[in-house]
Symmetry: none
Subunit: 200 residues, 4 copies
DNA sequence: AATGAATGAGAATTCATTCAT
DNA sequence: CATGAATGAATTCTCATTCAT
């Protein structure tokens, strides 16, 4: 079948559309938005330039849809952590490691995200309140506070601190400028935890 | 006088050059690199397009020099903290607040940096080892470890964690999506400190 | 039945072909040739883009055939005036009003014609001598001269003057910039007649 | 000097701008709007493609400005007829012949006009009431009526009839499908006049 | 030093047409 | 017959850069 499932929406995505997503991601990572002409995407994806415009209104739309597409994958990482049955602290550790591992293994996405959120494209994106990823993330910390596990700091602050720590360490290790073994990684999120946790 | 001092190098910068820097910074912040043609910089800076090429070899060079120019200012913030005479913890707090305040008051620079480091431009920039800002930052944490104030975590890790926390909180408060009073800000870097500090 | 008669040729025209003609006419009127892509015609006509190419070799052919198709209708208007049994002057009046009424009620055709004859498409069309409409028109005035009803001015001149007067008044009233009641309309062609008629 | 006067506005027009106007006029006449890419205009005018965009915002603007530019010339023809000192009938004859001669000698403009007014471009143009050419024309006939020289037919009707007669005859003779000597031309506008004139 | 008109390579996008289903 | 995804040449337009003044 010429289709594939994405996220939890069961939306079938044509092979060509996926190929265009994949190529755009890889090329934007390497060359940036501006350095990635549609002709390059087309060539890399093995389709004609015009074909891209069957699937996407414009380059801008392609970029924004790609962001959403990739965002879904990050959301899936957050959602798969079933925190209901394990201690909050362990859940925090899982979340940190889960996201870290995801970004570490998906450098394209990490780099694409960083470019995207700092570009004028992001102006067209949902506000923090409507952003599913951040909604989930903030809710997680909200819960931690209410369960008396975390200090009484705004959940947004905790969420941003956690996420930015994940991103910065993932970029650092991915760039090869620092190598951290699993023990050291544990140290990192443990460090964060000990800062954020309420001390009884 | 038509000159001005920058950094500690005593390099005089012509008014026009400065105007070009300023305009580029503001425009790139709003429109991104790609959305900021040289003609727009020229108009905004009140000079002719050709004039820019008296001061800068190319657009790429202008962008890179602007990065260095702005970087100098961040370095100045780090350098002005005289940590020799105060306790390390207080110095950490000063550094965090100093950088936070700088970025908070210089949104243009913050946004420009974020765009820059995630773009292909940054490929042309010095490696972490040769980057004066990071050298200073890492040295600071190195000292903290050697003084037995910080946990034995790689200084790079500590530096990146600290810097990313500053950037993410500055972006968050600057965007207006979160408002933190000075007490809450203190909480944030205190949180970080308590995670990183060696507990005797 | 899925067919219909057109003109006097008894050529059956498939519903789809007619729908394509109709859509093209309406869309070209509004958007011009260039502003009317085949995909738009297809959508408007409720057929697939490829289907148009079953009926028409190319866009150019479609346009030219549409011109002929519409031309038939104008010819029908001219032919239905049976001038053999009524005075020439009355026949002139009927012809003027017949064509005026037709164009007035068929703005699409009027606008399409005007665009067509002034475009490079018309280069591919029959010369004046081979154009049935003009042949009929010129013959009419030829007869008027021979019957000593009209001044000795070239029939072509009289034909063009008459036709252009009809078109310009139809465009003017259709545009809503001028409103003429039936008496005023009569005045107009009476005016023309009194200019062209031989005064005995 | 690198300038030239246009109309009565004394607006200097750069040589290149004029060359672009001239080329566009000639090329549009022959190939139509759609058949005249900007690259063709550039080549024909001896300028780079980008240069056109120094003078004109877009192709559409170029076309519209060209229309106005050419319109000025037609207006000049109308304005140069000083009707105050000669009989109205003679003035009508002069006007008819003046415009006829202008269009006859400026086929490019005639063809361009016809294409323009029947295209979607004309939608962007001033309404009849604000159109200087038609304002002048209608005022002329208004005067004829008030001076008791013309029948009591709406000036707009008379104006459109007259102008359309000029255009159709100019097209006919220019196409070579009809040849009219000066006597015959006189016959044509005399014919019109006798239709429109009030018979005392 | 400064100007800004001119350049032209390159980018995004369109659309007539084809063809496998 | 009918479809509409796919094609890719052609088009409009942008913009970094140059250079005569």
């Amino acid at each position: 079948m010429n289709i594939q499932l994405v996220g939890t929406y069961m939306e079938p995505i044509a092979d060509k559309k996926k190929a265009i997503f994949k190529s755009t991601m890889e090329l934007v990572r390497e060359h940036g938005f501006h350095g990635t002409p549609m002709s390059m995407v087309a060539k890399h994806a093995g389709v004609a330039a015009g074909t891209i415009y069957h699937y996407f209104e414009s380059k801008d739309k392609l970029i924004c849809e790609l962001f959403n597409y990739a965002q879904q994958q990050v959301i899936a990482v957050v959602e798969q952590e079933d925190c209901a049955t394990i201690p909050f602290k362990a859940c925090f550790a899982n979340l940190w490691m889960g996201l870290y591992t995801f970004y570490r293994n998906n450098q394209d996405i990490l780099r694409f995200f960083e470019q995207f959120v700092n570009s004028p494209y992001s102006a067209a994106m949902p506000r923090l309140e409507e952003d599913k990823f951040y909604t989930l993330l903030f809710a997680f910390f909200e819960r931690g506070i209410q369960e008396d596990q975390l200090r009484e700091v705004s959940p947004r602050t905790l969420g941003m601190l956690t996420h930015s720590s994940i991103l910065s360490i993932a970029k650092l290790t991915a760039s090869g400028r620092l190598s951290l073994d699993s023990k050291e990684l544990e140290q990192v999120h443990e460090l964060l935890w000990s800062g954020m946790a309420r001390h009884h």
